[in-house]
Amino acid sequence: MSQTSTDPRHFRAPPKRQLRLSWADERVRAIVWQVVIVGIVAGVIWWLVRNTQHNLEVRRIATGFGFLQREAGLPIGEHLIEYTPASTYFRALSVGVLNTLKVALIGIVLATILGTLVGIARLSKNWLLAKIAAVYVEVIRDIPLLLQLLFWYTMLQGLPAPRQAMNPVTGVFLSNRGLRLPFLDWQVAHSWALLAFVAGLFGTWLTARALRRKQMADGKPRPLWPAALGLIIGLPLVVWLAGGAPTAVDWPALRGFNFQGGFTISPEYFALLIGLTTYTAGFIAEIVRAGILSVSQGQWEAAQALGLRPGVVLRQVVLPQALRVIVPPMTSQYLNLTKNSSLAVAIGYQDIVSIANTTLNQTGQAIEGIAIIMAVYLTISLSISFSMNWYNNRIALVER
């Protein structure tokens, strides 16, 4: 029954015991218990499923995912892929998934940056800065996120109308319709340049690995920057020039009711992003602070005694040790941020929950709608877990 007694290491020569059909034999007990527990769980599930089938029949609710191919007819304000109300429910839900990813990924990056800054600020020698950071962390963590989101959304609506939009920099407009930025008039050449940029990043990474291997061999440091410059800046530039060097920029301009052209960040998205970022940053700050404090003062002193420069101390000595403490709780914060993005439904950002919700409302197919929401979040959560675990294993202390 108990964990340790069946651990093979505890028996010197595990005697092959006969399985006796007796309550005194703990293996028999274990089997009986498992059969009973699984039986109960299966029974409850069977009962629920039977009830559900009966209820669906009585209420004449159709089941199945056939509705995904029907025309959705619901308007969506922000979409990363082509969408019209004539598109199918499947397309609408895909738009929702992409919207969720858009806010979660950018939120994770921003929250990490802000959280790290606040965490370091809390350890600052400047009393005022440390106190401000402490108050920020305490206040932001003790108020429900939903309340904060509603607050931010209300605040953003207080911005001026498009005609009186704030115009801090030429081409940038901030109004209650969101933030409008000038953006490149997207051509094929831009896509190719972007591709080249990604390829350049990958190439730089390969080069860095090769250089490090060489350094390990002969101990001589080699500079990475010439290769990096060539690959990351040069390659996309060449591709862009080869594509005809299009330079047209789409400037936002006030036409009719609103600004046309350029790139928009809607108030809903902005409020959600600010809310998620500031809230999660409060938690990340504490994690970062704990991580830095976990590296003992002796490590700093020892590294300085070796004559390492402060930047190198931080990068090569302190950070690798702090990261070991930081990464596992950080993973759960990333997961929390992603799951919290579902609160978008309260302030009208059309993420997967909002669109699936409308879908189940229009089609009456509650079970399918909720199953879709859960499946999407489980997939995202597991992906984040896996990638963070992979990273954690890489940086984990290798004990010999």
Partner: protein, 355 residues
Amino acid sequence: MSMQPLRRVMSGLKGGLLGALAVTVVGALPAAAQAPAAGSAATLDAIKARGTLVCGVNTGLAGFAQPNSQGVWQGFDVEYCRAIAAAIFNDPNKVRYVPTTAQSRFTALQSGEIDLLARNTTWTLSRDTSLGLDFTGVNFFDGQGFMVKTSTGVKTAKELNGATICVQPGTTTEQNLTDWARANNVQFTPVVIERLEELVGAYAAGRCDAYTTDVSGLAATRSSQPNPAEHTILPDVISKEPLGPLVRHGDQRYADLVRWVHYALVASEELGITQANVAQMAANDTRPEVQRMLGKNGGLGQMLGVSNEWVVNVIKATGNYGEIFARHLQPIGIQRGPNALWTTPGGQQYAMPFR
């Protein structure tokens, strides 16, 4: 290390759990006991046995259903709940109000959590047939329209091309809007917010150029703005929105009662029976129809399974249709329009004969 404090923690926690369990068992009993049979033919008996009507209402819509500062539910839909409770119990306060959201409203009625859904719900074919629910009548004729800020200078809905429009998701409103936009080749950017107060807030703050919902809702919103003259309701009405109370399909006797309470309210207005004069009319009025309605003769109440004085009780509690309308909807700027009695031009409210 002493184990004593640990034991204390353990036993403290255990005790807390037991207490919580006890309270919840006690709590769950009334909850389970009040469960009526969904879809069966005994809703009215279940309501009588329970002693209260459970009424599903909006979570908060000015004029229709909304709790006041004292937490008392008020509004047009709420009066219907009160009227039916008065017909059954001769006490309009024997109602429990369950606030329902746009998604939970139908499930709540299907599952028997509520006896009646009085929550401005549009009567459509698919809702009538595929939800296992029945509409009992139209207590409010409505249509979808647009409201814009007067300063935009927009005069008709078709000028809204390129506009940002605020709309509540998961409603017929949303589908009507997209249908209309496609038919008229109007491009628009939607802002969809589930909670009404949030949505109206967004429109008022200028997040949207136009706000679309039923005209009654627009009027209510307009009148609640600090300066109503700054907002214009466009003349275009892009859909029919007949709103009415719903009951579960399959219990005709109860559905009849709900239907005839509505007719009683309308007929009372036709016949001039008001909250103030109902007692006196019940005693003195000699018109045969009035005598039948107010229970002097005919035994109409018994046919519905309630007391013969049911109409007297209803009108005493809520007043007639016109009085309810005047009390809750006219103050927020909704005119009678199509909801006037059929005897006035343009009016559509019509009661079946009490005979």
